[in-house]
């Protein structure tokens, strides 16, 4: 009986010890960094895969598409854009490009449009299917002509968290030129609603939802994103999420 009690308490201690030991290791910078190397491995294996996200039919579209982001921008700039129906909006393209430019919304809408019915996979675990219509990012990049040594495309957005930190995201050139990476203007046949990222939202169906930045104001082509904010290449990346979000 004593032995069974000893065994039972050993097992209970082993189980109970799991979370505190794990938490202590999690707070150890060296171990935390070691765990993060797995993300780099995923990026090396899958990061530039040419695989296409699965296309669905109209019948598969989610009746309700969740909103799970920073709040819709409330800045005076965004209010003014909203007030005139985004007629004064222009997407800025800057950085390491031959031709920096501003593309008005009407011109984006006049370019060749792609519609994709794809699944949006949130890192939290939920997913939703929507029909996104817009301009493939590569068509826009070809207009601006990135320099040969350009490595990343950074998306600067109009939303901010409660600390005032703006949202931003980044893709490498292969991901940016992926045929399904889209600057979406419409969701399910209507202009994107303000809370879904109006007027222009990035859509990256081959990666988790936090890559699909809402309220894109500017596209910046860069050689490195180390100097931006937390240096990890995105708002959520700066908070510990993997830069390559395909897993």
């Amino acid at each position: 009986m004593k032995r069974r009690l000893f065994l039972a308490s050993s097992i209970a201690a082993a189980l109970g010890g799991c979370a505190p030991i794990g938490t202590a290791l999690n707070d150890n910078p060296g171990f935390h960094h070691l765990l993060g190397l797995e993300g780099a491995l995923d990026a090396a294996i899958l990061g530039n895969s040419a695989g296409l996200a699965r296309q669905y039919s109209v019948a598969d579209i989610s009746p309700h598409f969740p909103i799970d982001s920073l709040p819709t921008p409330t800045s005076s700039t965004y209010e003014a854009l909203l007030a005139n129906g985004f007629r004064s909006y222009a997407l800025a393209i800057s950085g390491a490009v031959e031709r920096p430019m501003r593309i008005p919304l009407a011109r984006l809408a006049g370019m060749a449009q792609q519609t994709q019915i794809t699944r949006h996979d949130c890192v939290e675990g939920w997913s939703a299917i929507g029909a996104w219509t817009g301009v493939p990012l590569r068509d826009v990049l070809r207009l601006a002509m990135p320099h040969r040594d350009a490595r990343y495309v950074v998306f600067r957005c109009m939303d901010r968290d409660d600390q005032g930190t703006p949202y931003y995201e980044s893709l490498d050139m292969a991901q940016a030129y992926h045929p399904q990476t889209l600057l979406a203007l419409q969701l399910n046949g209507r202009p994107i609603r303000p809370d879904h990222g109006a007027p222009v939202r990035l859509r990256v169906p081959t990666q988790l939802g936090y890559k699909s930045a809402k309220w894109v104001a500017e596209i910046q082509v860069v050689g490195s994103f180390a100097h931006l904010y937390g240096g990890k290449g995105g708002y959520w990346e700066d908070q510990g999420y993997e830069w390559y979000a395909g897993i």
Partner: protein, 271 residues
């Protein structure tokens, strides 16, 4: 004389690689379960559908009000305050949270770090499994562990022995028929299914292998199977630990640490 007969019945049962794979695998699985619960907490529900579909919700854990935790399973709601839905926040207090802090890595709610642990130890567990499989296959040790049709009639007599309805177990080799059934199921059915359903959750994997996600019914369905696989694995682990604890604990532990196992009266060396 008696001493020598005992010595003769010590057999070197587990090769170094098998023992390493066992312990690396055991630690990795423990981490995978608790970091998986951490990840589950970010969206504490499971839908039997491709995309999230509340109408096809199989399980959800929530907190309808402060201080109240609830589990809803197939539409039936159970109060689980203090454990599921409302419990330890991992930093000394209580909060609305599906699985409590003492079950998750890290203890506090942190999806990003939970994912780091989970994805790192998924490699550890997979590589431990692969190393064990390759070395066992090369050495020809798999045959004594895999369940064969000839073992099937021995399953019930073996269970009868465990239930003390039978004095002697049916004759068997290194592993008894129930052990073979359990190990074959866990190592060759459950473990691969858990890995595949986990991969099917990833948009990057889905983009290069649609059939995998389709096979499991889509992403949310794969999440449901992944969770069920975890529950089955927990069930196996509980029985496994109980058996180790009751079927000669020190002999069992020594054999998985040093490799040497002392045969009991009814056991033989070969299959």
């Amino acid at each position: 004389m008696r001493y020598s007969s005992i010595v003769q019945r010590l057999v070197y049962r587990y090769a170094l690689l098998t023992r390493l794979a066992h312990w690396f695998g055991a630690i990795a699985v423990a981490v995978l379960i608790s970091s998986g619960l951490q990840i589950f907490n970010a969206a504490p529900y499971l839908d039997a559908a491709d995309r999230s579909t509340p109408a096809r919700r199989v399980l959800s854990i929530g907190s309808p009000a402060d201080g109240v935790g609830q589990l809803t399973l197939f539409g039936h709601t159970f109060t689980t305050t203090g454990f599921l839905g409302w419990g330890s926040d991992g930093v000394g207090g209580e909060t609305a949270r599906a699985f409590p802090g003492w079950l998750t890595i890290p203890a506090y709610q942190d999806l990003a770090d939970g994912r780091r642990w989970h994805l790192f130890f998924a490699w550890v567990a997979s590589l431990a499994w692969l190393a064990w499989l390759v070395s066992s296959a090369i050495k020809g040790n798999l045959a004594e562990m895999v369940l064969r049709p000839s073992d099937l009639p021995k399953l019930l007599p073996m269970q009868a022995y465990y239930l003390r309805l039978r004095r002697e177990p049916p004759p068997h080799g290194t592993y008894n028929p129930l052990q073979k059934a359990a190990y074959t199921f866990v190592l060759f059915v459950l473990a691969p299914l858990i890995v595949l359903t986990g991969l099917a959750l990833s948009p990057g994997i889905d983009a290069i292998a649609h059939p995998l996600t389709v096979l499991f019914g889509g992403r949310q369905f794969a999440r449901l199977w992944h969770f069920l696989g975890m529950l089955l694995f927990v069930g196996f682990a509980l029985v496994h630990i109980f058996q180790v604890a009751t079927q000669g604990f020190f002999n069992q532990m020594r054999s998985m640490i040093s490799g040497w196992y002392r045969l009991r009266d009814h056991e033989s060396v070969g299959p």
